[in-house]
């Protein structure tokens, strides 16, 4: 059976997503809508056009190239606008090849498990020398369960160390299968208060927490908890305390803090999206990060910062 998945990046030499030198496969599609998402091109389960305005020289070649009429110009001399509703159903993406400025790019490509294996095996010698391996991330890998499952299985057959980077929002039955081929879990916790969690991510947190508890009770897979630190949104002392207390209770030991950054902000513009968080939010400051670390360490948790 030829299983294919939709991915938007295979990044080699990743050194922050698990032990050793790793290749991270970024899958498309995610059930959450986190306000601060740094990979907005990962959210939807379809390929999307990225429009780099800074490269566009307004030659308007793409206007003719798109036979679906998705591209228009408000008035001559302005940048083009793209009707993304039309693009959703497009299969030819003719606009991309028409642009000789590389201003139009496609985020997302279909790939078979076999092809993906070939790609990730290219760095085998680096994994071997560094005790590294493969990380599946996204988007949310469990939202393409068949593909993720098959891919991880193949990785294990090849003797590669596997890491699953997940938001945890999936059914336990699916998760359980995927975990059979997972050596390390990176598990995101975004807020302890479910109402607030829904405001920030679009979904409540019950399922996420329940799955995490099941991981600790039913499996022995090492699990690192990853907490994005988003100023004014989830970084209150109360929430940090609550998180630490909870993690301690369920038996977690390792915590990674991911301080908010704005590196993804331009991608929103390229996708024709608004940046939901607004540009006012600053990355957390050093002193406060240290305070947060102290909270976690005071609960006996190992706490590491990851950028």
């Amino acid at each position: 059976m030829r299983i294919t998945g939709l991915i938007f990046n295979v990044q080699r030499y990743c050194i922050h997503d698990g032990p050793g030198i790793r290749t991270t496969v970024f899958m498309k599609k995610c059930p959450l809508r986190c306000l601060w998402c740094a990979n907005p091109e990962a959210i939807k389960g379809i390929p999307e056009i990225l429009y780099y305005q800074n490269r566009c020289n307004k030659c308007y070649r793409c206007l003719d190239a798109c036979i679906h009429g998705a591209i228009s110009v408000p008035s001559y001399g302005e940048f083009v606008t793209i009707d993304r509703n039309i693009c959703e159903r497009c299969e030819d993406h003719m606009c991309i090849t028409s642009c000789d400025q590389d201003a139009l790019k496609l985020a997302g490509r279909l790939i078979s498990v076999q092809e993906l294996m070939e790609e990730v095996k290219k760095d085998n010698i680096f994994y071997r020398n560094s005790d590294g391996g493969i990380t599946v991330s996204g988007g949310e890998p469990t939202s393409q369960p068949q593909f993720t499952l098959e891919f991880l299985k193949r990785c294990k057959e090849e003797g590669l160390h596997t890491t699953l980077d997940t938001c945890g929002y999936t059914s336990w039955n699916l998760m359980k299968e995927i975990l059979k081929y997972t050596d390390l879990i990176l598990y995101d916790i975004k807020h302890m208060d479910s109402t607030r969690h829904k405001e920030l991510t679009g979904v409540p947190n019950h399922l996420i927490l329940r799955n995490l508890e099941t991981i600790f009770t039913k499996t022995k897979i090492p699990t690192i908890i990853r907490i994005p630190i988003i100023s004014e949104h989830n970084d209150s002392r109360d929430n940090m305390e609550a998180t630490a207390r909870y993690l301690k209770k369920i038996g977690a030991t390792e915590v990674n803090l991911l301080p908010y950054h704005r590196l993804g902000i331009e991608k929103y513009q390229r996708l024709g999206m608004d940046y939901p968080l607004g540009t006012d939010i600053q990355p957390p400051n050093e002193t406060y990060l240290e305070e947060i670390e102290t909270i976690f360490t005071s609960y006996g948790l190992n706490c590491l910062r990851v950028y």
């Binding site: 990044q11 080699r12 030499y13 050194i15 922050h16 050793g20 030198i21 000789d100 290219k122 760095d123 010698i125 680096f126 020398n129 560094s130 590294g132 950054h261 590196l263 590491l304 950028y307």
Partner: protein, 807 residues
């Protein structure tokens, strides 16, 4: 963050004890004072030459050297502990008119006003200089060599130089060598004089050949005595200054300097201080004698260690004092310059490639790194100087704390140390017939080539531009920019029916150009030097010269198999060949005639613009894609074959070495558009393994895979630059992963790799506000330079280079 030290690393001394008040002041002074182009040495030489017509050439050179060292003005600068300067000034260079003088006259004004590598004229008297230059006309090495070249090839070599198919050899420099410091430090020059004397005493004078040897030994003695005399002059000066010195502390320092200079380099050094001073005098005088760059220091942490260890154990000095002395020596390295023609100045960018090697293994195969190796890295990290160049001999058993310290140095952004994988050297050097005990001692010379300390002959090397050879294939031998015929007529490019045919024509062009250059270089690098510019002091410090009674240029040195050809532009050529193969011969999307026209039109116009896009959209070297990397690999194989078929002046096969310094700017500026989409007169990809800027999009592991697909053996060098963000090193884990990367590079058969760890924003800001970044050190293709010192063109490329993000 560059200024902070990584907390998880152990250091020998604190940063403050390296950057003492004295060291800071000296550093500031060196930065503040102009770099002088000083005619003093050249005038003394000319004076001697005017009145010594009848002397045998060895003796004449040695006595001229004696005159220079005993008459040149000397000073001890405030606060110095290690003394001796190349010119009358703190920093600078002489001109060496005996190697070529036309260029000095032509460029006299420009030395002092040009964009890069600017010099200050100081107290030179222009009239006197011109008079001296007049004297050398018709006598200088270049004047003598030109008619010889013309006899062989007409004006071809000169046309090639003009077309920049090869390097402009003015001012006929040599270098790239490590002399026998071990002997000078442990036995003193007096031992060398003794040996030469013994040989001289037993010399037969019955044949011209034997008489020549007699003169040679005599010249070695005179030259060594000159250096001893030079040191004693410093001793006297220090004594004089001590008498007048009011400050008690400084007075004692001056007395100490007097004591040290009285003793070394004549006698064996018996302390760390003496060893450093002896080393410095030797290194300095080699460069006063010979117009050169790339004179390197070899395995300094090895041959200095016994002096260091003894002094520390016996309480003669503290580690902190040792660090300060070392820092004083380091500052000295940054006062030596190499004054060259504007063109070559762009190439070397104020660097003169004094390479210091650390690490590696000892004779028993154990890790040779020691406390001094670490101290050297710490001094280098703290000082952030453009010179010396620092090289790490990497092997798998290297002490990890030592490696971490090296990475800390890399993280400061100077690109130092460059990393050299021993494994490669061990596999290649035996192919040259080097016995194991010497292979073990190898050290990089100049920027990246391997040398055997104290045993290899110096040389300049034959640069050949491959993208130019590609151009000649398209034009049937005509250089586009100059319109001159410098290549072969390999036929109309449109008539080649297969890619193989095209490749064959290309290699024929290369073979032809290479043959002309090597032949001419054999004449200018070796054949005429014994009679024009012998170097007795240098020869005295290279194994077998004294035993054989032969100057280095006459074949006295032990290893003469390292004369190298430097084919460069590998990556630009490989990318271009791939485009030709794919677009023209495989897919037929473009005809050869269209491509040819597009190149001569420099891709201008709508039609060619679209063709250029096709060219650029094809895969490029550096992304671990077998199709393109395979062409790069084939290039190495076939070029190695062609190079080694040519012979050097001593009958050995030429050795290929793929370096490139920053020649990719200079040579690129005379090469038309290339099929990879590169526009006319823009730089090539640097080095021989670095991807073309901006085309490597898959990160460092992919670049490393691409770079190691070619079997580069028996190349004596490859050059590979990668850019890194310092954030990689912020914790122990990141640090380990960095070294796993290097280990894998070594496992895959890599040789040299170096890192540019500067973030893009810093560079942009530095370009805008150079005054805020006087210290920003970057490493470009084999050497380090202050960013603000570089020509804007060079700055721009550094900014454009792909950065590997780890965030």
């Amino acid at each position: 963050m560059a200024q902070e030290r990584f907390s998880y690393i152990n250091h020998v001394v604190s940063r403050e004890s390296i950057l003492t008040e004295r060291v800071r002041r000296l550093k500031e002074e060196i930065r503040r004072q102009p770099v002088y182009g000083d005619w003093e040495r050249d005038h003394l030489l000319t004076e001697y030459w005017r009145h010594s017509d009848n002397e045998q050439i060895y003796i004449r050179r040695a006595r001229a050297f004696y005159k220079i060292l005993t008459e040149k003005a000397i000073s001890i600068f405030d606060g110095e502990l290690i003394v001796g300067a190349p010119t009358r000034y703190l920093s600078g260079s002489a001109f060496y008119p005996e190697y070529g003088c036309d260029w000095i006259e032509e460029e006299w004004e420009r030395f002092f006003s040009r964009e890069a590598d600017r010099f200050c004229p100081g107290e030179n008297n222009r009239e006197a200089v011109l008079k001296d230059i007049q004297f050398w006309k018709g006598k200088s090495l270049l004047d003598v060599v030109l008619p010889l070249w013309r006899r062989e090839f007409g004006n071809l070599m000169e046309d090639m130089i003009e077309a920049r198919v090869t390097i402009d050899i003015k001012p006929a420099t040599q270098g790239r060598q490590i002399v026998n410091f071990i002997k000078v430090l442990n036995k003193g020059l007096k031992e060398i004089i003794k040996e030469a004397n013994e040989m001289k005493d037993g010399a037969a004078l019955d044949t011209a050949h034997n008489l020549r040897k007699y003169y040679f030994w005599d010249s070695c003695i005179i030259a060594c005595e000159a250096v001893i005399e030079f040191a004693k002059r410093y001793a006297n000066l220090a004594r004089e200054m001590a008498k007048r010195e009011a400050n008690e502390l400084r007075r004692r320092e001056l007395e100490k300097i007097a004591q040290v200079c009285e003793k070394v380099p004549e006698n064996p050094a018996s302390s760390f201080h003496e060893a450093l001073q002896s080393l410095w005098f030797t290194h300095l005088c080699i460069q006063i004698e010979n117009n050169s760059y790339g004179y390197s220091l070899g395995r300094m942490d090895q041959y200095l260690y016994s002096f260091y260890k003894r002094d520390i154990e016996q309480g003669v000095i503290t580690k902190e004092e040792a660090a300060e002395l070392l820092a004083c020596l380091w500052l000295k390295f940054s006062t030596i310059y190499w004054l060259t023609k504007g063109a070559s100045a762009v190439i070397c960018q104020t660097s003169n490639f004094q390479n210091v090697t650390i690490g590696g293994r000892d004779r028993d195969g154990n890790d040779a790194s020691n406390e001094l190796s670490r101290l050297i890295v710490e001094v280098d990290t703290a000082l952030k100087l453009r010179q010396p160049t620092l090289s790490l001999r990497y092997h798998e058993c290297s002490d990890s704390n030592f490696l971490f310290e090296c990475a800390e140095d890399i993280a400061t952004g100077g690109g130092k140390p460059a990393i050299f994988c021993e494994k490669y050297a061990y596999s290649v050097l035996p192919l040259y017939g080097i016995p194991l005990e010497d292979v073990i001692e190898f050290a990089p010379i100049g920027c990246v080539e391997m040398g055997i300390p104290g045993k290899t002959t110096p040389f300049g090397g034959c640069f050949v531009s491959l993208p130019h050879c590609l151009e000649l294939t398209f034009t049937n031998g005509i250089h586009r920019k100059t319109g001159k015929k410098v290549g072969l007529e390999t036929g109309d490019v449109e008539s080649f029916s297969s890619f193989d045919e095209f490749m064959n024509a290309f290699f024929k062009q290369f073979e032809f150009v290479h043959h002309v250059i090597v032949t001419c270089n054999n004449t200018s690098e070796v054949a005429i030097r014994p009679d024009l510019t012998p170097c007795p002091f240098n020869s005295a410090l290279i194994a077998d010269c004294i035993a054989k009674g032969q100057d280095i240029h006459s074949g006295g040195g032990r290893y003469k198999q390292f004369y190298s050809s430097y084919p460069f532009g590998m990556v630009t050529t490989a990318n271009s060949l791939y485009v030709i193969k794919k677009l023209v011969y495989e897919d037929g999307r473009v005809t050869m005639s269209e491509l040819k026209d597009a190149l001569s039109a420099n891709f201008e116009g709508d039609k060619y613009g679209r063709l250029r896009k096709l060219c650029m959209d094809l895969p490029k070297y550096g992304n671990d894609i077998d199709e393109v990397d395979g062409i790069h690999r084939d290039l190495f194989r076939r070029i190695n074959n062609i190079v080694t078929r040519e012979k050097n002046a001593f009958g050995y096969p030429m050795a290929p070495a793929y370096l490139g310094i920053t020649v990719h700017y200079w040579f690129g500026a005379s090469c038309g558009a290339t099929p990879d989409g590169r526009l006319a007169y823009t730089p090539f990809a640097d080095g021989s393994l670095s991807p073309y800027p901006g085309t490597d999009t898959c990160g460092p592991t992919a670049v490393i895979k691409s770079a190691t697909k070619a079997n580069t053996s028996p190349a004596l060098a490859t050059l590979f630059n990668l850019k890194f963000y310092p954030s990689v090193f912020t914790n122990r884990e990141g640090m380990k992963k960095f070294w796993y990367l290097i280990k894998t590079y070594s496992d895959l058969g890599g040789y040299h790799i170096q890192f540019n760890v500067v973030d893009r924003d810093t560079l942009l800001r530095a370009k805008e506000h150079p005054e805020d970044y006087p210290d920003l050190l970057i490493r470009v293709a084999g050497f380090s330079a202050y960013f603000v010192d570089l020509a804007p063109m060079v700055q721009d490329e550094i900014i454009a280079r792909t950065e590997h993000s780890f965030g």
